[in-house]
């Protein structure tokens, strides 16, 4: 079932529709995503960002259209996802990270080493033995990032990762995201927060009612949006 490591890019969507209830929530999306720059999917609530991300990650199958990774239809292993609310097991922070590695088939000794290393990178080493679920929101999200990072993915999807966090925690998480990006992992992130998009994005995909309106570098998108919807969004008129 796996596509092995390294065979993720280009991630190509060809006229992908997702219509679980008859009408398309993701509507004829065609995209080609390459390694490298940090990509942010921007759009109003209900634009279909979360669903698009799940389609890209392979959690959902399109109703019509095709998704390929490096030309192959099999979903590759070397990817990970972090959700808006971190889903953690009822065990220690360290074991949560180790669990992800265990699923990936990493042998026991190496598992613990890599888990500890991941915790160090997100500055949670001092909480390694703490039950994951009693950590603060920001700490939990950083833990989720550590778990994903430890898997050494080629691409990391993030679905509104800071939407439930206070500003300080959000900044901490953004910092970690930047570090992950610098370590060579492709970042694809959704947000409806314009400020965050400005801070993190290197390129922007703007989604409106399930359709891709724009796909441009960040220094083109914000000053000179091509569509009326994007313009309205940036000005804060769309919700």
């Amino acid at each position: 079932m796996s596509n092995g490591r390294g065979s993720v890019f280009p991630l190509v969507l060809e006229r992908v529709c997702f219509s679980p209830k008859g009408f398309p929530i993701v509507d004829r999306v065609s995209l080609a995503i390459d390694a490298g720059v940090r990509t942010v999917i921007l759009g109003a609530n209900g634009a279909g960002k979360s669903l698009l991300m799940r389609l890209m990650h392979g959690l959902l199958s399109p109703t019509s259209g095709r998704i390929t990774w490096c030309g192959r239809e099999e979903r590759p292993d070397a990817q990970a996802m972090v959700f808006q609310r971190p889903v953690l097991l009822r065990t220690s922070a360290l074991r949560n990270v180790a669990y992800g590695l265990q699923l990936a088939g990493v042998p026991r000794g190496e598992r613990m080493e890599r888990a500890l290393d991941a915790l160090k990178r997100v500055e949670l080493s001092h909480l390694a033995q703490r039950p994951a679920r009693v950590l603060s929101g920001g700490e939990q999200q950083r833990l989720a990032l550590a778990r994903a990072w430890a898997l050494e993915p080629r691409i990391l999807f993030l679905d509104e990762p800071t939407a439930s966090l206070d500003p300080t925690a959000a900044r901490d998480v953004e910092e970690v995201i930047r570090e992950i990006a610098s370590s060579g992992c492709k970042i694809v992130m959704t947000t409806h927060n314009l400020g965050q998009a400005r801070r993190l994005a290197e390129e922007v995909i703007f989604l409106h009612r399930g359709r891709v309106m724009e796909y441009t570098p960040v220094n083109v998108f914000f000053p000179a949006p091509r569509s009326a919807e994007a313009d309205a969004f940036i000005k804060g008129e769309l919700p």
């Binding site: 990650h57 292993d77 990970a80 889903v87 097991l89 009822r90 065990t91 039950p131 994951a132």
Partner: protein
């Protein structure tokens, strides 16, 4: 009310002196019901997890039947197991009828649906919360089911305690398949039934107090488990 205070006195005396016959009866009750819970867990937890995580045609029908089986009358279970284990029945060669093993089998049959149904609900709720993340991490449905069984262990513990309570409190099944033989298959509930029928009400009430005390202790354990888990694991 004379009988009541008289029996209270008798009860406390019996418990205080750890009367040997009484102790044997209580110990047998515990052994039978605990063994039943263990076997019911071995059968019911995987079944519940499979139903909670799996999606296949007929699943809803199975869940409805399983929930219905929670209300199986103990006497009916007793009758069915009796017919199975009788020398004239299909499993007669094993000579299990009128032994504690038969009682364990009957109680296991009785409480497996309870444990399966309750664990199914727990796992299904947890799956709703965990599904996307676990699939994202690459867990197969089987692997996910095992992970959820471990992660929801405190709620499952409470389901097991519920099963134990039901087993310890029932009389119909163990009476029929055990035969209430003195020193061999006599448990708290069947002894209460026997002593009451002999008109020896103080002794029956004494055992009743102990049994109710046990049930209360089991429920208290469930409550404390819930609170402790919440505080320590979130």
């Amino acid at each position: 009310m004379d009988t009541f205070s008289e029996s209270l006195g008798t009860a406390l005396q019996l418990i205080w002196s750890a009367d040997p016959e009484l102790s044997d009866i209580v110990l047998l009750s515990l052994r039978v019901s605990l063994a039943a819970v263990l076997f019911a867990a071995l059968l019911g937890l995987p079944a519940g997890a499979a139903l909670g995580v799996g999606r296949f045609p007929g699943r809803q029908a199975i869940i409805v039947v399983l929930n219905g089986l929670m209300g199986l009358p103990p006497v009916v279970v007793g009758l069915l197991v009796y017919l199975l284990l009788s020398r004239s029945g299909p499993l007669g060669d094993y000579g299990l009828l009128f032994t504690p093993s038969a009682m364990v089998i009957a109680q296991t049959v009785l409480i497996t649906p309870i444990i399966a149904a309750l664990s199914r609900q727990t796992i299904e709720d947890a799956w709703g919360e965990y599904e996307e993340q676990l699939r994202s991490l690459g867990a197969s449905p089987g692997r996910a089911a095992l992970t959820l069984l471990w992660d929801t262990r405190f709620s499952l513990m409470i389901a097991l305690l519920a099963g134990f309570g039901r087993a310890a409190a029932e009389v119909g099944a163990v009476l029929i398949v055990g035969g209430n033989i003195a020193g061999v298959t006599r448990v708290m509930t069947t002894t209460i039934a026997l002593e009451t029928s002999k008109g020896d009400l103080p002794l029956a009430l004494a055992l009743g107090f102990i049994l109710v005390g046990l049930i209360i202790a089991v429920n208290a354990a469930a409550q404390l488990t819930r609170q402790w888990a919440l505080r320590h694991y979130g």
